[in-house]
């Protein structure tokens, strides 16, 4: 822990250098919120409640979803892939650090930057400009835990994709495919409730919904009982542990094929 915390701090500081970028990301999020507002307004033109969600709940879900999306998008897959292809990974092999833990903490640092610079301003905007209301309930207390577990799952998936750098020349195709599958099947774009029932039942068991749907439900419907949230968090925990171990085993296998040309 003592050696890894400074890593998170370092990426946090590096992240702050790119302040100019935050402005555009925030503008992007505002435009997205506006578009989502009009889109869902026109969908809710027909009835007050669709699939058990009111307009306010759906918009809160989608709006916070966009803030969480920025938070979890650390580009870890691109970064790790790049380091492997360029041979920079050798720098870590000669040091007494665990590559997976190292990257986990590095991502935690950039997550904190995004949280302060983008997610919190977006959330404030959501409340002040769009006047979205949040109900009270146990879900609000669970939200930070749910978000952290979501981060672990999201990181493990990205790390896994990044490790493909040991085998493939470019990561674009894999990363994009992963991103589309995650965003569409996780509730990041549309609340999971809108999917046909049969598909919903399958999605419930997959790791993707654990990234967005679970924490977002804690905010949109915080007043549900623990009997709803605990099974959801159990699924999160199981995936977080499973994917973490799987990525570890994969790394141990993949590192054997590594060849770095000198120079």
């Amino acid at each position: 822990m003592r050696i890894y915390l400074p890593i998170a701090r370092a990426t946090f500081m590096v992240g702050l250098v790119y302040r100019f970028g935050f402005l555009f990301t925030i503008i992007g999020n505002v435009v997205y919120l506006g578009v989502a507002y009009y889109l869902w307004k026109s969908i809710y033109h027909y009835s007050e409640v669709i699939r058990g969600l009111t307009f306010n709940e759906t918009f809160l879900y989608v709006g916070v979803g966009s803030a969480v999306f920025v938070l979890l998008k650390t580009y870890a897959d691109w970064f790790i892939h790049y380091e492997i292809r360029e041979g920079n990974i050798a720098n870590y092999l000669t040091k007494p650090v665990d590559y997976q833990i190292y990257n986990l903490f590095a991502n935690l640092g950039s997550l904190l930057v995004s949280l302060l610079a983008i997610s919190i301003p977006t959330a404030i905007m959501l409340g002040l400009v769009f006047r979205v209301k949040v109900a009270f309930g146990i879900g609000l207390v669970l939200f930070p835990i749910g978000l952290f577990l979501a981060f672990l799952i999201s990181f493990s998936i990205d790390y896994f994709i990044g490790l493909m750098g040991f085998y493939s020349e470019s990561v674009w195709g894999l990363s994009i495919t992963k991103e589309i599958i995650v965003t569409v099947l996780s509730g990041a774009l549309i609340p999971l409730q809108f999917f046909p029932d049969a598909i919903q039942r399958v999605l419930y068991w997959l790791p993707f919904q654990a990234i967005y749907h679970t924490p977002l439900m804690m905010l949109t419907r915080p007043n549900q009982g623990l009997n709803v949230f605990l099974p959801m968090m159990a699924i999160q925990l199981v995936w977080a542990v499973l994917l973490f171990i799987a990525a570890r085993l994969f790394y141990n296998q993949a590192i054997k094929v590594l060849r770095i040309a000198g120079g």
Partner: protein, 265 residues
């Protein structure tokens, strides 16, 4: 001044070599194409899910949305395939390699953009064409010769609008070096162009029609084919908007190229 034919010949030679080089990484090409396939269907998936719960989106049915979406896919393909190098201007500027583009007796934008030909973009084009044919059959659209010509003209201008927005955003690199945030924003806006513009009002509709006219990438021009009786006269000016916007972008590019002094590295 070289003639258009000469540039065309040159382009073919450059791209043939480029494609040969890329084909060394066959697995990469296949995986990228699969990725492109999925990514081209993502927004459509959203429409599909939404229109499974409500009958229509601001009066537009699922099949009409598929048509608009197909138009969008085809319209953004030239940007993806021919102008993908726009994303790398920032790297060339950062590393000082942009200098080399000044030293050829060629149009600089042509020379720069010709250095990349995005093969995976062809997947997007294919998906777009397939969806357009499918939606046309389902909607019983009557394709007379005039309408086919109109389709080609509107697609050409829509493609110009999209190219202009992305290239103009990438030009930010000449002034601020890292143009990624600006490009990211432009890229995000692109995804909203197949949305029915009629769902917006106030500032959003104004901005998407007159300021950053993404409405002209898909929604407005496809109305000509879906509901010709409802088309506003402005839509018929869309070819002018494409050409006009590209002229502005070319002006920004020229300004940028002339003001670039290097980062000193």
């Amino acid at each position: 001044m070289r003639s258009l034919a000469e540039y065309l010949r040159l382009y073919l030679i450059i791209e043939t070599q480029y494609i040969k080089a890329r084909m060394q990484y066959r697995a990469d090409f296949i995986i990228s194409s699969i990725g492109m396939f999925f990514s081209s269907l993502a927004t459509l998936g959203v429409f599909w899910v939404i229109l499974g719960t409500v009958p229509n989106l601001a009066g537009w049915s699922l099949m009409e949305m598929i048509f608009i979406y197909a138009f969008y896919m085809i319209a953004i393909s030239p940007m993806q395939i021919l102008f993908d190098h726009a994303w790398n201007i920032r790297f060339h500027i950062q590393q000082g390699t942009f200098l080399k583009y000044y030293f050829r007796p060629l149009n600089m934008m042509f020379y720069y953009m010709s250095e990349m030909f995005d093969l995976k973009g062809l997947t997007q084009l294919a998906v777009g064409i397939a969806l357009l044919v499918y939606a046309s059959i389902q909607l019983h659209l009557d394709w007379t010769l005039i309408r086919v010509i109109l389709l080609l003209i509107t697609l050409f201008s829509a493609a110009l609008v999209q190219i202009s927005i992305i290239v103009a955003a990438s030009c930010a690199a000449f002034w601020v070096t890292n143009s990624y945030p600006v490009l990211g924003l432009a890229w995000k806006l692109r995804e909203f162009s197949p949305y029915p513009m009629s769902i917006f009002d106030g500032a959003f509709r104004f901005a998407f029609t007159y300021v950053i006219p993404i409405g002209f990438v898909a929604f407005y021009p496809s109305q000509i084919f879906l509901r010709p009786e409802q088309v506003s006269p402005l839509t018929y000016f869309s070819p002018l908007i494409g050409v006009g916007l590209f002229a502005i972008t070319y002006w920004i590019w020229t300004k940028g190229v002339n003001s670039y002094t290097g980062t000193g590295s």
